[in-house]
Amino acid sequence: MLAHLAAGIGAGLAVIGGAYGIGRIAEGAMHGTARQPSASGDIRTSMIIAAALIEGVTLFAEVVCILMALK
């Protein structure tokens, strides 16, 4: 029962970190595109790559939480 509780709390905390990081990336991308609209293609590509990397780390934590919940 404690494992389920821990899994839930862990999943929530992991999402906080991941969403904050991806929000910061999006903010930087918006600023960069606003300053120089002609670079929006490069900025979009870098934003997607960075967001996928951060999401990878977030999903590590989610996988651990799933393992905890299923035991």
């Binding site: 590509t45 997607i48 790559i49 996928a52 990397l53 999903l59 590590f60 799933i66």
Partner: protein, 281 residues
């Protein structure tokens, strides 16, 4: 779905959990569409199962293996269809395939690896990209399951990427020069042992991250979708408009994630190869 978990005496929540686990993990039933919604084809879990140094290795054909075979067959079919139409300006289906291959070569291979190396490794990157993409998308059609949602499959793909990265480095720098590359230039002598350990860990951590990232992204999407549909069984039919609407949104997001994860895997593999193969400035 309900017929899978037709045991009596279990609460609804447990049955939903069984249903989710059944759809995500590998199994030895392959469901085919039929007049009764789905008939399972029972596969044999002991077909090619043997023991090797005390480890139980099971190579028998299971559901995910069949999905991978279908994906490989589709890719071979794609290659055969495109073969005759390769020209300066291809027409029809060949132009779609050429669009993808040119995207991989111009946007992924050449910026990270340079012109010469991209000629050697573009075919590997194309294979990786198309195979991962096809496996991801096959998991989204009805009666299909995601082969890349199995950690063994993604571990195999990451292992192939690992071998290619090391092979690229050793081919470029020589077998022993490659280990000399572990300590970059301009590092003070007392820091070198720490750098060697960190770089060695990095060599193994990066493909491991590739493996877990792909596995977790594919599995997470499916778990959310199945949980939403299972919610209808738990909470009654009144919630179904909200659930199905949100489920459709998640479905479209999963298609986007399928493309994105294939792109990210290929891009990171290319980046790691490019770090080792880049010519010194």
């Amino acid at each position: 779905m309900v017929e899978h978990v037709a045991e009596v005496g279990k609460s609804v929540g447990e049955k939903v959990k069984d249903m989710i686990l059944h759809h995500i993990t590998n199994g030895w039933d392959w469901e085919l569409p039929s007049s009764e919604w789905a008939t399972p084809v029972h596969l044999d879990p002991d077909m090619w199962r043997f023991e090797l140094i005390g480890i139980d290795i099971n190579l028998s054909i299971s559901r995910h293996v069949i999905m991978m075979i279908i994906a490989a067959g589709l890719l071979v079919l794609m290659g055969l269809l495109v073969r005759r139409k390769v020209a300066l300006i291809p027409k029809g289906f060949a132009s779609v395939v050429e669009g993808f291959v040119l995207f991989i070569r111009n946007e992924i291979a050449i910026p990270t690896m340079g012109e010469q190396a991209s000629r050697k490794y573009t075919s590997f990157l194309c294979t990786t990209f198309f195979f991962i993409l096809t496996c991801n998308l096959l998991g989204l059609v009805p009666y299909g399951s995601t082969a890349t949602g199995n950690i063994s499959v993604t571990a195999g793909l990451a292992f192939m990427a690992f071998l290619t990265i090391q092979f690229a480095g050793m081919r470029k720098m020589g077998f022993f020069g490659y280990f000399g590359h572990l300590v970059p230039h301009g590092v003070p002598w007392w820091l070198a042992p720490v750098m060697v350990i960190v770089e060695l860990l990095g060599i193994f951590a990066k493909p491991f991250a590739l493996c877990v990232r792909l596995f977790a992204n594919m599995t997470a999407g499916h778990v959310v979708m199945l949980s939403l549909i299972g919610l209808i069984f738990v909470m009654g039919a009144a919630i179904s408009p909200v659930t199905v609407g949100f489920g459709i949104f998640m479905y479209v997001l999963e298609i986007f994630v399928a493309f994105l994860q294939a792109y990210i895997f290929t891009m990171l593999t290319s980046l790691f190869i490019g770090l080792l193969v880049a010519t010194e400035h």
